[in-house]
C-alpha cells in the first residue's frame, strides 16, 4: 500500500475530488496552509511505466487542472501514507506557493516545427551546383571534399531556416505569452521546439495568431498542442535548492 501524489493544488480543503486514481480509488485533497496535495490510495509500491498508465496519469492531472491551479508531480511519486504527504507539503511549502502563483490562470501550449531535411538539402545543393562543379573529380580526396561541402551547406540551410522560423513564428507567439522557452534544432527534423505559458484570457488570441502564422509557412509541418497543465514552467531548480 502507498499513496500516489499527482499534483499540488491551490486548494485548502480536505475533500474528495470526483476523480479516480490510477488504482481506481478516489482522489482526495490533503490540505496544508492554503495548498493541498491531490492523492489516491495505491495497492502497489511502484508504478508500471506503460502507455496506458502514463496516459491515465496525464488525464488525471488534466482533470485536476479543470478544477484548480495545478503543479503536476513527476509520474511515479509514491509515498507511504498521509503523514508523508503532509511532510512534502510542509518541506517545500514556499516553493509550491511561489510556483502556484506563477502558473495561476495560465495554460501551457507546445509548438514543434518540423522540416523535411532531405528537401532542404536538395534545394541547397541545386543552388550551389556551380560551386560543386568546380570541384568535380574522381579522386577519393575530391569526392570526400565534395561530400563534406554538401553536408556543410545543408547544415547551413537548416540553421538559416530555423532562424527564420524563430523570428517569424516563435517571436510573435512569445510576445503574446507570459513565459516561453524554446530549443533550436532539437533534432535534425525538429527545427523549433517551443513551449508557451499563456494567460487564459489570451488563449483565443494566441491560437488565432498561430493559425495566421501557419499559413505563411507551407513547407513546414507544425505540431501545436494544448492546453496542457504547466509541466514545463515549474521552477524545479528552486525545489532542489531548498533541499541543499
Amino acid at each position: 500500500m502507498s499513496k500516489c501524489i499527482y499534483a499540488v493544488l491551490d486548494y485548502n480543503k480536505k475533500s474528495a475530488l470526483d476523480l479516480k486514481g490510477l488504482d481506481g480509488t478516489g482522489i482526495y485533497s490533503l490540505p496544508y496552509k492554503g495548498i493541498s496535495a491531490a492523492v489516491s490510495d495505491m495497492k502497489r509500491d511502484r508504478l508500471k511505466v506503460d502507455n496506458e498508465t502514463a496516459a491515465g496519469y496525464a488525464r488525471i492531472v488534466e482533470g485536476l487542472m479543470e478544477m484548480h491551479t495545478v503543479l503536476p508531480l513527476r509520474f511515479g511519486t509514491l509515498v507511504k501514507d498521509d503523514s508523508e504527504v503532509a511532510g512534502v507539503l510542509e518541506k517545500y511549502y514556499e516553493r509550491f506557493v511561489n510556483n502556484l502563483k506563477l502558473v495561476k490562470g495560465k495554460l501551457e501550449y507546445g509548438l514543434k516545427a518540423l522540416l523535411d531535411a532531405e528537401k532542404t538539402t536538395a534545394l541547397n545543393e541545386a543552388e550551389d551546383r556551380a560551386g560543386f562543379e568546380q570541384l568535380k573529380g574522381n579522386s577519393p580526396y575530391k569526392k570526400y571534399l565534395i561530400e563534406k561541402l554538401k553536408e556543410h551547406k545543408a547544415g547551413q540551410a537548416l540553421i538559416k531556416k530555423a532562424d527564420g522560423i524563430i523570428e517569424g513564428v516563435h517571436r510573435p507567439l512569445k510576445e503574446l505569452s507570459f513565459l516561453s522557452k524554446f530549443r533550436k534544432m532539437a533534432t535534425e527534423r525538429i527545427i523549433l521546439d517551443a513551449v508557451y505559458l499563456v494567460e487564459a484570457e489570451k488563449k483565443d488570441i494566441f491560437i488565432e495568431r498561430f493559425k495566421e502564422i501557419k499559413k505563411k509557412y507551407r513547407d513546414v509541418e507544425f505540431l501545436f498542442t494544448g492546453p496542457w497543465p504547466p509541466y514545463n514552467f515549474i521552477e524545479s531548480s528552486n525545489i532542489k535548492k531548498e533541499q541543499n
Binding site: 511505466v49 496525464a58 508531480l73 513527476r74 498542442t225 514545463n232 531548480s237 533541499q243
Partner: protein, 71 residues
Amino acid sequence: MDDVIAKSKEVTLLEILDRVLNKGVIISGDIVISVADVDLIYLGLKVLLSSVETMERLRGAPIYSPYQEPS
C-alpha cells in the same frame, strides 16, 4: 484537451509521455520516484527511451527540463 488544434493519436501520446515522464515537480531525497516493469510500445523513438532512462538513472534526484539551465 478538446481544443487542441493539431494532433494525431500517436503524436499526442508522445507529447503526453514526454511531459508526464520528463517534466513536473520532482520530490527527491526521502521519497522514491517509483517505476517498474518498463513496457513502452514506442521504444524506437528517442524521446521515450530517454525518458525512461532518465527516470531510472535519476530516481530520487532532481532533473531539469531540457529547456532549463540548471542553476
